[in-house]
């Protein structure tokens, strides 16, 4: 098996487009049981995974636990990643989002959950974007594009993605009809997609 010298390790941010085939290649090596390749995958994806999970769960200890589960899941199921169906980043972050949201929703009945909802209503969780980001350019781009959304689009998208709320909960939080929220989530994301120039 080919081993990459450590010095080869790339830590300067490359443009996202040039980066994705490399991550896909690393995942192929991981799928063959290559732990060295996994270390590189870890280094690449952990800031986004941890950041996203932390944003949804807020609690640092829980976030760490879930981020660990996600990365172990990446290791276990690397062979299931199909590059024709999406980018490696999206695959990993979808896993991360699902895990974090599962955790949140399993607390559904608990008082913690109630407190979260209350907090979301009183404070404004909408405009918190990560402070210690590694990919600052990307962050800035996303922030600018989020600003092109209408208020309701933006809130629907953020509450669902960063807050981990289901669309029913979002509708309740924003006191809007379900149908409206469904539509806003979709046209909000479509506008973001076009603004960010996503090609898929």
């Amino acid at each position: 098996m080919k081993e990459e010298p450590l010095a080869h390790h790339v830590d300067t941010p490359e443009p996202a487009i040039a980066e994705s085939p490399r991550l896909a290649e690393l995942l192929r090596q991981v799928a063959r049981g290559d732990e060295r390749a996994f270390e590189q995958v870890y280094d690449r994806v952990i800031p986004s995974v941890y950041g996203l999970v932390r944003k949804i769960l807020r609690d640092p200890a829980q976030s760490e636990e879930v981020a660990q589960e996600v990365l172990v899941e990446v290791w276990r199921s690397a062979c299931r990643y199909d590059e024709h169906r999406g980018s490696p980043q999206a695959w990993v972050l979808t896993l991360a989002h699902r895990r974090a949201v599962d955790r949140v929703r399993s607390e559904q009945a608990s008082s913690k959950r109630a407190a979260r909802v209350a907090a979301a209503e009183v404070t404004t969780p909408y405009d918190e974007v990560a402070e210690e980001a590694t990919g600052r350019l990307e962050q800035e781009r996303v922030r600018r594009c989020l600003e092109t959304l209408t208020e309701l689009q933006s809130q629907s998208v953020r509450l669902a993605y960063y807050g981990g709320y289901s669309y029913r909960e979002v509708a309740r939080l924003l006191s809007s009809p379900l149908g409206t929220i469904k539509t806003r989530m979709r046209d909000g994301l479509v506008r973001l997609r076009d603004c960010l120039g996503v090609e898929w």
Binding site: R54, P60, W75, C79, G86, T94, M185, L196
Partner: protein, 236 residues
């Protein structure tokens, strides 16, 4: 249903809605396409949330990984997206391609061959499922039918044939005709005992003006050495 694509990409559907939407996705190519784009978009929201992870997380993850068994690759899904039917492709043709793929999967029992075939099946499925897939078919001889599915977006074409005679020490070789009159080999057909060729995936579909098939000495030739038994122009 379609309007749920956003909520789905944001992982905001609850169990029942999720199940129903996923069922719908299997039939609705335009929804699946949209979901892919919106999922990539949502992932960028995730990237934008990046933050420095705790120091010792790396060590703990690597520890656990070294103790964790990996999953075996999933069996290749032979289930065919219904969208082929809806794309206006003839049902008969789609069904025969499907049959070829399925039979191919069943007939092979040697592991290595199987894994090569899986790769092939995946590539076949990708071309057939491409939104711009175009079909050209012909009956070059009594009882022989051939069809080519071309996808420019995938840069590939899939050739399949039925009703071929089995050859003893010769092979059927497929050629792509390129502008300017040159031809390039697209490979040798594997013909099963029932006379059907396993679907052959060829790259360079974008510049192929047509396909041709010749009979060549076993193992194929660098350039055609006999007159083509079949020639077919491809629709641009």
């Amino acid at each position: 249903m379609h309007t749920l694509a956003g909520a789905y990409a944001l992982n905001a559907l609850e169990e029942e809605g999720l199940r129903r939407f996923e069922e719908h996705l299997a039939y609705c190519e335009s929804c699946a396409q949209e979901v892919r784009g919106l999922t990539e978009t949502a992932a960028l929201l995730g990237t934008a949330a990046a933050r420095r992870p705790p120091q010792d997380l790396r060590r703990r993850v690597l520890d656990e990984v070294s103790r964790t068994r990996q999953l075996a690759p999933a069996p290749v899904p032979l289930a065919i997206p219904r969208r082929w039917w809806q794309k206006g492709m003839g049902l008969g043709l789609a069904a025969s391609l499907l049959l070829a793929v399925v039979l191919g999967g069943v007939a092979a029992n040697q592991y290595r061959e199987l894994s090569e075939m899986r790769q092939n099946e995946r590539e076949v499925a990708l071309v057939l499922a491409a939104p711009d897939a175009r079909t050209t078919s012909a009956q070059p001889a009594e009882g022989v039918s051939v069809s080519v599915v071309t996808s420019h977006s995938r840069g590939r074409l899939v050739f399949s044939a039925e009703g071929l005679d089995r050859l003893d020490d010769e092979d059927y070789q497929l050629w792509l005709a390129r502008p300017g009159g040159s031809v390039r080999s697209a490979g040798i057909l594997a013909v099963d005992s029932d006379g059907s060729a396993r679907p052959l995936v060829a790259t360079g579909a974008d510049e192929a003006e047509g396909v041709a098939m010749t009979v060549e000495p076993e193992g194929g030739s660098p350039q055609p050495t006999t007159a083509p038994m079949m020639e077919m122009p491809l629709e641009g």
